[in-house]
Symmetry: C2
Subunit: 203 residues, 2 copies
DNA sequence: GTCTATAAATAGATAGAC
DNA sequence: GTCTATCTATTTATAGAC
């Protein structure tokens, strides 16, 4: 591949990523992507065969990047559970395009089947970063914790962080719902982390 | 309006509701809706002016029904906080079509603006049933609780219930993620309710 | 109110010149 | 690899007969 073709390919992916996130798969046309990426219309199909392939590729990369970044963050900084989750929140609202795309896709019957039946099925079992949250909990708790308790805590924490991230970018910003500033959300994430750790220790 | 036209209108809404939820707004064509509803193509635009209007109408009705059902449930049965939330969970997974549609729409920049700028803006501030959860918490706690604590608890509980409902219908069913049976989820909702009430009482 | 027919625009994909 | 031009199919919406 020449340098130019690599640049064209990445320009397409970058433009498509944003458009798909904002308008969905069917709501975005190949022509729109090409215009936004400032490349020729035909180059999209030349590089990605078809529109669906481009979409799948964007999601695959986004999920991988997300998981890897979360893992790297944990390995490098060795943060406490609550620090880790606040980092995840900030990562999610910064990379909200991929997050929202992934969520939309999971909620779409057709695409989730298409996604699961592909090779990426293994990688997509469980939330991105789920394993990291587990490890952070285990580090603070020691090993004396049942699998059921562990899964419960991860689901509570992850659902709260992901929900907060999504709402932060679509509702909390526009409306004046009380206690939904960024500082409020972070405070809430820390509080829930502490509450759950206390609960796990008391079992 | 004649009986026939009322039936046509409701057949269109019922078919469109399901198709929109599964395929999104742009992913669903008017012809598809008409075929599925077993009515003529032109009747869709005759009754709803255009496709976007039909979508907005479906969401408006869905949100209203959802809020009213939650309010009625609380007023009639006067359940405990954890019973109420389990009821919400069961309601959400039963009516997952509307729920998913509403969520998709909120996550779509274009549509959320369109939705908020319309008259339904007031009704859509805050989650459906949010006020009811507040009341259930206050009933168990007495009045000595700050607004910040109250909002925190509502957001934790609602995000957990809504996230569980969505995941239950798109991931938990297909994959074999541990501790995600319906009974497990309900158990988790009850547990989180109790944990949060204990936290609020200790403040 | 319901139907057929059709207008007008746009979609994804590809062929072939360069 | 990139471009223009175009094919084919499908879209929303509407006009007009019944």
């Amino acid at each position: 591949m020449t340098d130019q073709s690599i640049e064209t390919k990445s320009k397409i992916m970058e433009a498509a990523r944003i458009l798909f996130a904002n308008q969905g798969f069917e709501g975005t046309s190949v022509r729109e992507i090409a215009t936004s990426a400032d490349v020729n219309v035909a180059s999209v199909n030349y590089h990605f065969s078809n529109k669906e392939n481009l979409f799948a590729e964007i999601l695959r990369i986004g999920y991988l990047e997300c998981s890897q970044n979360m893992r790297a963050l944990y390995e490098n900084e060795k943060p406490s559970l609550e620090d880790l989750l606040v980092h995840f929140f900030n990562y999610f609202i910064q990379k909200s395009h991929d997050l929202v795309s992934l969520f939309k896709m999971m909620m779409s019957t057709q695409h989730s089947h298409h996604l699961m039946s592909q090779g990426s099925g293994d990688q997509l079992s469980g939330p991105p970063g789920g394993k990291v949250i587990e490890e952070a909990i285990l580090k603070e708790m020691g090993e004396g914790i049942s699998q059921e308790d562990l899964h419960f805590a991860v689901r509570c924490l992850f659902s709260h962080v992901i929900h907060s991230s999504i709402m932060f970018n679509c509702c909390f910003k526009q409306n004046k719902i009380p206690f939904t500033t960024r500082a409020d959300i972070e405070k809430g994430i820390r509080r829930l982390s502490r509450i759950l750790l206390i609960d796990l220790k008391n079992i």
